[in-house]
Each structure stands twice: as structure tokens, then as C-alpha cells.
Symmetry: D3
Subunit: 338 residues, 6 copies
């Protein structure tokens, strides 16, 4: 166990048993859920869920507690430092909260802090972001490039931090940036093989295809679908972004329509969210690369997360299977006994 | 109209009208179907379909016709030279057949002959075949390479001529070779981006994944599913080929099982024919590249076959849509009227 | 048979037999298809389909025929007056075309002319259009009403003539107008029963929900999907129209988003084309009324088209069944023999 | 907290902590489950679940407890008054039961009692029932009306109390009555718009369409499917009821068959339970109104149950979405920032 | 060709060519379709389809033809003797009809007559019928047996002649009887292995499970779905029959409900028409035997109909495959070349 | 409660309450799960699940406990004798483990021991195994019999103990043997009725159809899918076994291919795992018998496991329904009140 003065993770807190009752502790946690409820005596209380990357616990906070106002002000998704005392309710860890302080935006940059709170893309996001800019710059057609540039001038900061999904593939901080850069790399590698695909449109389509997710997902630490996400969906939101900036950039009607079409069709099948089926060489190409990198992203995450001693990962819903994560045996391994 | 002495295509034959009744002609055609039937008087006759790349016509041949024995000997799928006279039955072109001569294997090599009879892959098959050999040679792991080499020593000639499908994608002579080479190119381009994928296994998996189709499809000029194709399917047939040659090449058990798995899972979903879901990094990777190139193959064929004056292709069943085949307008084209 | 000088319908033309060969006739027909092809001698010819409400026939027109240029100028979907002579090719009616004259827009208004060429909504379109205007005027919220008004100022004329579908329900001239008015009537009748539904938003949603079809379907006499229809789909096209005019009308953000949502979700299920699931009271309400009137429209058309002597209609694909079209027996009819 | 002498709700009971051990209390609860089990020593005991509208708890009762016989006699679904003492087992509320007394049918009418035990339709059921009778009386065709009357003379009392579903729409006491009356209102409002629909058959079809549910669901306080519900399903049970009373009322064979058909087809699709597809104007009409009101019922319930402070409801399985429950902003709200 | 005086089959008629124009012939045919239409001159004519087991042809009959009244009186599904003269219309066989005489019920018994008109079950129907009676007699439980007996006293004659399907399995005259007897044999063979199945209920369930088809299919020579078939479906019709006769036979409520349940659930899945899922041992047992014999019936028919020279049958929709019909090679055949 | 010295079942252990804290006990249990984890202090510990047929509990074992090494050596799936002391953690039974001893293979044969640990097929496995051998011996065709014999010489011991499934039907020890014998009995009973089925091939197909499961499922006491099961699936594994031994037995190519086909197709539909659709009489026959016995196996298990006092079983996922398990009422039971 670490010293008492250092902040404890949820896993460490849950390792206490009732013998530790009353022991003071400090933690830095995300407010994952915060729902106001009314008790039968008419008083308001919060049913909250606090957690970090290692787990979470539920906590009821009545309106006469000093923590009540602090939670209310901080709000769902905020990061708070908590001073509390170990306690259990009905056998579950349920601390008495003392002081609750919301961390300022500036404090979130402390080394390792975010990484302890949420899963983060494994690649350096700074490097990904620079590579991303280079992909934009490499678009030869002026208006196409200006369209892409315009979209990221508007939503770039949010895009940079977004996960690519709530669950499924690349579902972590910077995941959207990581997935998009990976697709852009694959696009660049494959373009020489499919000369019927217009390079600028395909690359612009890849860079823009999931921008609607920067609007659909809300909260960088506790992801949920936003109002616009529920009412319009990321496909239409991304299409609208491209259209707005395409018109601003005076992109010709033919290219703009093809670019919008890539976004509208990239999900592949209507039941997966595509507004229409892919009907241009570029749209078919982008939707297939999206598919490829989404699946490979699931593979990569399972390889990172499965202990080396295990032969297979947990079952991955996106692959409908467990994944064989055990490394290949060395060349001299035995032949199959037939 | 060409001179009478040159062989006529089916399209040219069908351009005749009844004024041409009795006119002699020569054609080189494939026997697409040949079904023996019994007339009510007990006599046998053939209901046959003869055709080339430009079309086909039906023809009934009674057993007292000189053509009867010639067709019988040649059999379904053979190429025959026909001397006939123009005739019509119930308004349809229905020639009187004179002499029917089966072409020898050696005669099929005449320039343009096969190309007139069936659709052929647009790329030079000689070049594709050499590139294919180079992909085999580039496999670094000895036993993996020897396994692949062994399979193609056994079925290479058939593989080289096979279509990749009866309908859908790459459904033409050499289509299987073309599709496999295209996948190998994509694999080579993408491998640096997905270092968790074993390069030798992935490449071997790609080269072998559809080898069962060389057994499943029968007849290079009139494709149909073979008995083994119906009873086992190309997935199991390809798996069996890889297993046999892997054991011969003394490939270690771990790699052989992973190689077999790529073949067993490459169709993606059980309802599309996969025996199991892809459960190794290589298997996920190969099945996604297969998907990508299959769809792009449909795009490429539609671009080749749609007249330039048309904006869209016919509806492509594999894409659930028509394809926009019209070329991008030049840069200076007008902006969308909004 | 009518006198020779009056224009003949396709059904009347097809009633001729070969005894009528060479007989001159006149017809007013739509050019349903017009495809340029190249003969083996390099000459261009048209493979065309000409028809009216009673049927259609195919016709090949070579480029040395006087009709060639006339057809080219008129184009697919135009209405032409044809002077021809009865002829048959391979047993099928295949007239020799003489003079082909395209009718001017102004000539199309001749009484009964359009009705003979295509199926038309059974209700008087003039009355429907006035009722439609009244529904717009009755929207109480100013910006909502101005949004709707704006859309129809832009696309009203096309909307007024469009079918509601290529096949399925209300698939005839003015069908889109008819279906929308019927939905508006149902909306008005049901609103008092569902007070949680905002009347203005629901009515505006109904009037706008299918406006994208006025862009998706092209050609008032020979319907096919337009380029924008294929690349974007009517759901997104209608959403875009509403958004543009909502912004122009300064509609508040909350209402505009809800109005857009009605359009984006009205198809019900993603596999039927909905961009998102209905997630507001108004969106659920509108999508259910759409469903109800679409099905009842199929019922109404089957009742109109099935001969009185038949007990059941043909099988209706949209209902997965034949429809019992026989009228209820009079009250005194016999009881079931049990 | 209320005084000790007043009956406590389950939510209030669960608010106790171990400090309250031994505290006496009284509650009025439904026996939600009652399963006899055999301990390893051969003794019988009950594993029971007791609850009210605010929640439920499990309770094991051995056969030497005075409560054992009382529970046995009362049976699953009965309402009991319980005198107990607060206790906890393994951290969960698990009271020691003292006296258990089943409430008589007559006592259930006490004001608010049922409402505390189960969710009840929000509209006054007395008024709904009168309106329902009026809908029957308004059927003009004598035998049709007598058929409907006959069915409700047989099952009316049960129908009046039944929920319309175990889960999904109108799943609460009187929900079946409420849903049916709402459909009847919608039917009356829409009939003038669809004159091809026979008013008497449609209204009779609506009133009878779900009567099988009064047999399929058993227990007014703890709903489960009955033996007949499992073995025949509500569609066939309702059909059988209509048939029996139609024959009694001497309804003519044509009308009876059409009325039976409405019931057999109202679920729409075979996979949702329809015996056949709707194949009469009335059957199509009724099944669409059923769909509309079922969905709107889910909307209405979500609006009632979602706290005003929330923008969206929980995800509603029947709508595949959360519902935007936040009221429309006042007219002067800001425009979308575009 | 047979002598002119003997009746010709449709296959023989179609073998004529235009050289035979005007040649008189006689045929015995079924009126497969008979649709009254109105010509543009207001005259009524019949568009009819006449055929036998070897094929069919279309024939237009105007109301001034002597055949018009004869066809009208005979009606769809009747067997008629036709005197006609060979003729062709637009290249298709289209005889001029002379005298048309409907055959009396008594004439249909002529040896081979029915067999020439429609496909008939291969087993002797007399023997099948006796075996069927014996299965009824062997039911030990009195009321169960009397219920079954009652149903067949009512519909036995129709049942005996019905096909088991319009397409798919046992789709021929006596097919329903044949399929039911085959299932009864399988039931008898399997009952000793599944002692948890009540023998009398299972056998009664099998004998009754498809009796609704005797009402759903109409016309023994030209099968189509009847009004009751469309409006209720064979599952409900069979249930109703069993219920009526079960009540008459005073069958106890428990057994009657289980017997009805077998019929309601025998189709297996709701999307295949089951009203409920099988929920008794007998219902599961019967639905599995139904499945087994239906599939084996398709196998048997394909074996009968595929020429011996063919290795595979045509594709069988009910099996989703072609069937290998080639006999097993003799024991001494060669081993697989591996 | 039994005496302290006798081993206690999990159900008995869980019946203790906190008053029994510290009480010593002995149990014989299966190690159902054993996962090594790392605590935040770097120490390794096991999260294990121990259980028998009556239930299971979780138990954390640190690496300084004497039980740690014993569990490690024994491994997942082993049977261990445990000496422990009753304890609770957070209200759940969580004993302190003292001595843990793995039972030797030889000790597992003690009467009733295995039966207490896992569910076992109800029929005597010794008798089933003898009957199974007799079915092999009864195959008349020498090479077919030798093929089957060869397979079971290789995998017989594992086959004999395997369950037929992880969940669903016959999911218990010896279940695979039991299901296969039941199918063989059904096959024998049905063969006389379907003479088109080759008896030897069908019987061999049945005996071999699921042999791949003996490889796919691993661990006789704690079933999970093996590596080969995940990567190849039981269909391909069984096919491979048959192929290997068919070649060894010099089975002729025709029969071997048909035998392999039975295995490849027995799952019926590709989405249930079939490599191809059944395309021989034997393959259709075997897949239907498999279906029948699988469903009846679910029925039989539900009848065994449902208490006599219950009318219905729990919902059975494989039947999509609860099962009526109540016995038929005696003959004199009352008629339905209609």
C-alpha cells in the first residue's frame, strides 16, 4: 500500500477492509455520474459515481453535506480531489466525503494525472497531431485542402481529445485522432494501387469522415452522447461541417458533393448508420479503410491489455471472438502431431 | 458487317434479319450448356446454348444431325468452330448447324481468340503471374514459403486461369490471380503500419486464402461449381490444401494452425462462409484486405464497362448501389448553387 | 378501335396483328428510356422505350432515321407525338417511326393528356394544393411557418408534381402532394388526443418530411433517382432544405433542431433510411402517421385498381399480402356454417 | 421518516441502517414471488420476494415460522400486511417477519393503497371505463355491437384491470383499458379521412384486438404469463373470444371473418406474433393505429417519469433511443450559432 | 408423334412448328388461370392459361367465340377437352379453340388421366388412406381418437386430395396425405425412444397438424390460397377444427389444450407461421418430425425427378442447395487421390 | 446440517451465517477459474472460483498462503479437497483456506464424487458406451466401419467424457456420448422409412458428426473452448478426423467425400456453423436427426430439473419458451369450460 498522504486509486481504496474504518485518505477522481434525487422526506440528495481508470464506487451525498455544493458546482465529468474517511455501507466501500475540490483546467496537465483517470491512446498525441496537420497540408487541390483546414479550425481542439467511440474501437482519449491518422497512413500506402481513386478527395474524406463524433460525444473524461449526437447522429453532423466549410472555401459543386457523399456513406450499411450506400470510388475506398483500421484497432488494444501469460484475450464484441494474443513460437517449435 | 468468311460474333449473328435466311456463316463459340433430353417419340436430342463474350443463343440438335456427335464429343465448356446457315425459329435466331469442329487446346492460344469468348482480367496475366511468383519468393520463413510453393506446384495452372467468383467480384478468366495479386500488393503496402501482424503469415494467408476456388469452380470457359465445391466449399478445400502442404514442408504446428485459421476465417462472417471468426491479428488483417480489394474490384470493373457518356453504372449488387462513373469535373467547375 | 386519325394508346397499337402491317397511326408517348449504343459497324443507334399509361414497346432508331435527331433533342422523359407505320420484328410490335415531334410544355396541359401518359393521383391536385397552402398558413409560430413557406417557395413546383415513391406507396404524379396532405389531415385529427405533441412542429415536420424526394426523384413522367438522390438520399436532402430555410427565417435553435430531427428520423428504422431513431414526441408522432398513411395509400390504390369481380387484389409487396377488395356483404348475409 | 405506526414503503425500509436493528415496523406489500424449496435437512422453506411500487426485497421463511402458513394461504400476487422487525443478512435488508395477514378484496379499495403497490394508468379508470362503454354503444351494426358486448360481458372485469404488456408500452394496471380507449379515440378521429374503412368493423376490431391479453396475463398485482398465454398466445385467445361471441350474436359470416382477421393480424409482422398479414382495409388501419398509440404511450410514460431537470429520459427499448423530454424553449430563445 | 386422334399433351403441341398451321388436334387440359378483361372497345375477353403436367400455354378467348361460354361455365381449375387447330401468334403456340367441353367429375377417374394433368404422390393413395385410418384407430385414448376421427369425418375427402404446399415440399396431389402418413410412421418409430412424449397426443397432433391446409389450399388441380387461407392461415384453421371436434368429443381440457398447442406451434418459428413456440414435449417432438419429413420429402422428389445421367439435381430452394442424386459408387471404387 | 467431518457442499457452506465464523469444515471442489493478478504492491495473488454442482464462491489467495502453491500446481479444472474455516467478507461467504490437496485421477472414481461436482448424463455411461460400440460394429461396409473405429481409437476416451455443449443441449459430462447414442437409436428406427438413405453412411455420419467437440471443449470438469476449438471450430476438426482415418482405412473416394460432407453440413445453416448446406440424402437426414435429438434433450433435462410442484420450467433459451412440465391430468379430468 502507498503512504496515506499520496492520492489513492479506486483499486487501492477497495482493497481496504472494515478494519480500516475511519482511516482518512485522499483521491483524485472523475465525477462519472451525478443524478439528483428526492428522498421520501422531500430532501434532495445526489446519487453519484466517482472513479478513475482502476474502477469506481457509488456514493450518496445529502444536501446538508459540505460536499453537496462542491459536486453541484463541479458537475458531471469534472475532476475532483477528495478528502474522505474509509467506511462501508452494506458491505460495499462507501466513504464519508469530507472536502471536495474541483481541479482547475490547468491542474489537469500534471504528469500522469489524466492517464490515471482515463484510458489514453498509446501513441504520443503531440506527434499524432503534427502528422495529422501534415496530411492536411499534403492535399494538393486548394479548395479541398481549405475545406478540411476550415473544419479543423472550428472543431480541432475537441477532435484532438475525443474518443472514436463510446465502446468498440479506439474508445479512449485521443482515440479519434489516432484512428484518423492510422486511416490516413493506410490511405497514403494504398493510393498507388487504386489509381481510379482521387487522392485528394479520398484523403480529405478520411480526415473528415468522423468529425461529427467530436460533436456527438460530450465530455472528455466521462463520455456520453450529446443532445446533437442523439438528435442528428455523427454522420449528419460531420456532413454539415464539411458542407459549411466547403461552401466557405468555394469548393466546386462536383467535388463538394463527392466529399459530402464520403461522409454520408462511410458507415457502410444503413443499419450501421450510413445515410446512403457508397457510390463513388472514393467512398467505397474510404469506408473499406475505416473498416480495416477499426478492426485492427480492436486487435491492437487487445494485444496491449491482455496479460502476457494468457493465450487469448477476453471475448471482443467487435470481432465476435476472443483474440489469440500469445506470440508466435520460435521457428524451431515442434510440428503438429498428425 | 465483316466479310462472310471471317468468324462472326453472336452480336453480329443476331443483327441479321429474316432477309438473311439461308446465308452461310462461320463462328467460334463456347458450348455454354449441353443438356440431353428425350422427345415424346423416344429420340434423344440436345438442348444447347452456344455463345461468346457478346451473347449466346439456344439451339436444338437432333440425334440424326451431323452436329450431334460433334457436340457430344466436345462436351460442355469446349470451344467449337461452327459452319451454319442463318435461320429463325419463332422469331428468334436459330441457325441450322452444319459442321461442328472442336478446337484443340493448342488452337486456343490464337491471338484474341479467348478474349472474344470470355471476359478476361484487364491486366496482363503473364505479368501478374510473375509478380505472384515474386510474392512467394519474398516470404522469409522457409517452411511457410515452402508450404505456399507446394500448394501452387499442385494447383497453380488451374489457379492461374480461374475466375474469383461466378458472379460478384473479379468474376472473369484470371480473376482469381488478379484479385490475389492485388491483395498481396495491398498487404505489402500496409504491413509497415500494422507491426503486430506477422508479415510472412499474412502474405502466405493472402496467397492461399482463395485457392479452394480453383477446385470449387470448374471449367475455364463456362464456370460452374464442381462436386467438391458443392460438398465441401472453397474454404474447407483451401484449408485442406494448406494443411497437406504445410505438413509436407514440416511447418511448425503453431504457424500451420495460424495459417489454416486465416483461410478458415477469411470470409468474415459465418453466413458468408467463414468456418470461424477471425481470431488472430493476421486473420483479421487478411479478411479486411480481402473485403477491400473485392469491393474495389467491383468498382474497377464498373468503371471499365460503363460507357463514358453515362453518369452512373448499372446497379451493382455487391455495392447495393449504382456507381458514379463520371470523371471529376475540371478544377474550374462551378460552385454549388446554395 | 378508334378512328385512325385519333392518337392511339399503346394497348390499342399492340392489339394490331400482322394483317395491319404498314397501316399508318399517330400516338402521343413518353420517351421512357433512351440509350445510345454502337453497332459493330461503328454506327450509333438508339435503343429506346416509348410508352404511355397502358404499356410500352421497344424501338431501335438508327442515326440515318429522321426520328434520330428528334429523339436526341427531346431526351429521356419528354413527351412526343409520333407518326408511324405498323410493323413487327420477330413477332413483337415494332413500328417504323416517321415524324417525331416533341410536345411543348404548354401542350402538356391539354385535357386528359397527362392522365393518358402516366398514373395521376385520384384527388384533384388543384384542391390538394390549396389545402396544402392552408395547412402552412395555419402554423401559428411565425418562424416555423416562415421556414416551411421558404422551403416551398424554393421547391414547390417540383414537389407538387412528384410521385411519393418509384414503387410502393403513392407512386404516381402528385403522389407526394397527396400523401403529404393526407398526413396533414391525420395530424390535425390526432393532435387533440396527444397534447404532449407540439402542434406547429408536428405539422411543419409533416409538410417538410419528404421534401427531399422532390430532389431525389427526377423526371415527372419517367421517374428515376437523380445524382443527388443517389449520393445523399432524400432524408439528408430534406434536412438540408429545412436547415437552410430555418436559418433564413431566424427560427430559434431549439425548434430548428427538433424540426430537422423529425426529418432525419421519419423513416423509422436505420435500415429503412432513418439517420437516427425518433427521439422527440413530435418525431415519434410524425413517423407513425407516415407509416399509417403510406400503408393506407397502398390499400386505396389497390381498391381503385382491382376489378370489382375479383375478391382479392394482386399481392401487394408493401403489405406482404393480397388485399381483400370485395365489398362487405349486405347485412342480411348468411352466418358462418360452423 | 413517517411515524412508526404508519405502514412503511420498501424505499423507507431500505433507508434503515444496522443501527435500526430490531426496530418494529408495519408494511403493506405484494407477494411478488413465492417459491417453495427444500433445505439440505429436508425441511421446506419459502424463498419469497415482497415489494411495492418503490422496490422489493427477498425474504426466506422457514416452515416453523408463523408467517409460513400465512404466505402459503395468501399465495403469489396477494397483498399482505406485515408486522416485522428490522434486520440485515449479509448486508442486505432482510427483516424478521412477525404477523402476516392477507388483505381481503374489499380492503384493496382503500384510497391510495393500490397506487402505492403498483403503477397505475394516469387517467381515471372510472372515466376510461365509461368512455369505453360509450364506444361499444356507438357501434351501429347490431350483431357487431352484440359481439363486442358479449366479449366484455365475459371478460370485462379482468380486462379493466389488466396491463397492456409485461414490459414495453402501457405496462401498468388499467393499461390495457387505457391503450384501447386511446386507440378508439384515434380511430374515431381518423375514420372520416379513410372512407374505405368500415367504421363498425374497425371500431369493433380495436375494442377486441387485445382482449386475449386479459387471459394471457395473470395476476393484477404481479403480472406473469398464464398457462393459456404460453400455450396459445393472446392473438389466438382474442380470436377465439371474438369467434365465440360472434357466433352467439349471429353475426354474418363475412363480417365475423373480417373481425377475426383484424385480431389475427393486428401485430403486423409474423415475428411480432401476427398469425397472418393484414389483408383488409380495416385490418391495415387497426394495426397501424395500434402501432401509433403503443409508441405514443411509451412517449407519454417517459414524459411522466423523467425528472424535469433531465434533458433526456433513460433509453427506451421500444423506441431504441432516449427521448428528449425537456420542454420547448420559449419563443424568444436564441438562434443556432452556425 | 402420336396419332392425331389421341389427345396430345402440351409438350407434344409445342413441338409443332408453323408448317403444322391449321392441323386439328384434341387435348385434355386444366384451366389453370381464367381472368376476365375488358378490351379498349368495351368487349369482354378471357386471358386464360391451359395446361397439363407437361407444360401450359396462354390463350385469349373473345366473347363471340363458342369457347367463351364453355370456359366461363367450367371455371378456373376445371378439366376440359379441347378441339382446336394449330396456330401461332407472334411466334408462340396459340391455337384456335373450337369445341371446349368440361369433363364431368366421373370422367376424371379414367386411368392415367389425372396423372397426366398434375403431379401425384408416388405412393398409392388408396394404401396411404388405409394406413392413415389405421393410425387413427390405434390411438388408445378414446376422446383423443374421437376428436381426430371427428375432424376427418368433416374434411377427410378434401384432405385426401390436397397437396402439402403450393411450392416447397410434397407440393402435389395427395401430398398432404402422404406427408402426414410419413410423419405418423416416423412418430411410431421414434416414440419408444422418447418416453416423456405422450403417444396418443403426439400421434393425434401429427394427424391433425396440417388439416388447416385442406381449407387454405383451394382447387385440387390448380392450387391457390382460399379466402379463409389468406385471412386466417392454416395454423389457425387447423386449430379451430381440432377445438371444435375436441369439444364435441368431450376431450378433457388439459389434453385439448395440449393438442391445440401442437397445431399452433408446429411451424417452429413465428416467422414461419407458428402462433407460439412449442412448449410441451409433444409439441417439440411433432414440430421436429414435421421438419425432418418435409426436408426428406424434398430429397425424395428430387431423386425421382432428376435424370439418372445428372450428378446433381437443380438447386432446391428448400434445401438452399443442389442435391447429389448420383448413386453411391460400387464398393470397389478408387480411393481419393490425396 | 451434516456432521462437521463429512465434506460439505457449497450449498451447505452458504447456509452458514456469521454466527458460524471460524468453524472448521472440509469440502471437495473443482477449481472453476484461477486467474493470476498483481496487487498494487506488486505481489501476485489468485482470484479463484471454487465450486461443485450446488454452487460456487470466489476466493482470493495471496502468495504467502500455503494454499497458493497447491492451487498453482493443481490448476484450473482440477478437483481439490479443502480444509478451511468459515468466514465472510463484505457479507459474502469467503472462507479462510487452510490445506488444499489435489485429488489424484484414481480418487475421482469414488462413488458419487463426480456426480456431486458436475452434472452428469442421467443414463449409465457404461451402458451408453457399450451400446455405442455396438453401433460401430453394426456398420456393414468394412472401410466405413474401420474409419469410424479409427477415429474412436484416437479420441474415444475424451469423447466419452465430453459434454455436447457449453450451454444449450446435453451440456453435461457424458452428454456428447449420450446425445450421439440417442441419435444413433433414432437413426436406426427411421432408416426403414427412408430407403434412399444409405444406412452405413448415415450411421457413420451420426457417430462422427460431433467428434470435433471432443477437441473443441477442454476440461472435463470446467468446460471451455480450446485453442483449436477457437481457431478451427468443431465442424472442421471433426471433418479432419474423419478424413485422416478414412484415408487410413482406404475408404473409397466417393464414400469418404459423402461422409466428410455429413460432418461439414450437419449444423444446418452457415450462421449456425455449417461449412456448406446439406446436399446428400444422408446429410439432410443426419442434420434433421441432430436437430430433433438436441431439442428433445433440452426437453428431457427440463423435465428432470423442474420441481414437480411447478407447472412450467424456467425459460429455455434453446426453445425460446418455458416448457410445460406438469404431467397430463388423469383421464377423468374436466372438460374446458367454453
Amino acid at each position: 500500500m502507498p503512504e496515506d498522504s499520496a492520492p489513492l486509486t479506486v483499486r487501492e481504496l477497495k482493497a481496504f477492509d472494515t478494519a480500516a474504518n475511519g482511516k482518512p485518505f485522499t483521491s483524485v477522481l472523475v465525477i462519472k455520474k451525478l443524478a439528483a434525487k428526492t428522498a421520501s422526506n422531500g430532501n434532495t440528495f445526489y446519487s453519484s459515481e466517482l472513479g478513475d481508470r482502476s474502477g469506481s464506487f457509488s456514493c450518496t451525498v445529502f444536501n446538508d453535506s459540505p460536499a453537496f455544493e462542491a459536486l453541484k458546482t463541479a458537475g458531471e465529468g469534472a475532476v475532483v480531489r477528495i478528502d474522505g474517511k474509509v467506511d462501508f455501507y452494506q458491505g460495499r466501500f462507501s466513504p464519508r466525503l469530507g472536502k471536495v475540490t474541483a481541479l482547475a483546467e490547468s491542474e489537469l496537465g500534471a504528469p500522469g494525472l489524466i492517464e490515471n483517470l482515463v484510458e489514453v491512446a498509446p501513441e504520443d498525441q503531440q506527434g499524432l497531431w503534427q502528422e495529422f496537420q501534415a496530411f492536411i497540408d499534403a492535399i494538393a487541390h486548394d479548395e479541398v485542402r481549405m475545406t478540411v483546414r476550415g473544419v479543423f479550425d472550428e472543431i480541432g481542439e475537441t477532435f484532438r481529445w475525443s474518443p472514436a467511440a463510446v465502446a468498440m474501437h479506439h474508445a479512449y482519449r485521443h482515440g479519434l485522432l489516432e484512428h484518423t491518422v492510422h486511416m490516413a497512413r493506410a490511405c497514403k500506402a494504398l493510393l498507388p494501387l487504386y489509381p481510379e481513386v482521387d487522392a485528394d478527395l479520398a484523403m480529405a474524406g478520411i480526415l473528415l469522415h468522423d468529425t461529427g463524433k467530436a460533436i456527438e460525444y460530450e465530455g472528455t473524461l466521462a463520455t456520453k452522447r450529446s443532445r446533437r449526437g442523439i438528435l442528428q447522429g455523427h454522420v449528419v453532423l460531420g456532413y454539415q461541417l464539411a458542407r459549411k466549410h466547403g461552401i466557405k472555401a468555394k469548393l466546386d459543386a462536383d467535388r463538394l458533393e463527392r466529399l459530402e457523399h464520403i461522409i454520408l456513406s462511410h458507415q457502410g450499411e444503413p443499419e450501421w448508420g450510413a445515410a446512403v450506400y457508397a457510390a463513388t470510388p472514393e467512398a467505397v475506398f474510404v469506408s473499406m479503410i475505416d473498416n480495416l483500421d477499426a478492426r485492427m484497432g480492436m486487435v491492437q488494444r487487445a494485444l496491449r491489455q491482455t496479460p502476457e501469460s494468457d493465450e487469448f484475450s477476453e471475448r471482443l464484441p467487435g470481432l465476435n471472438s476472443q483474440l489469440l494474443t500469445r506470440k508466435l513460437r520460435p521457428p524451431a517449435s515442434p510440428q503438429l502431431p498428425l
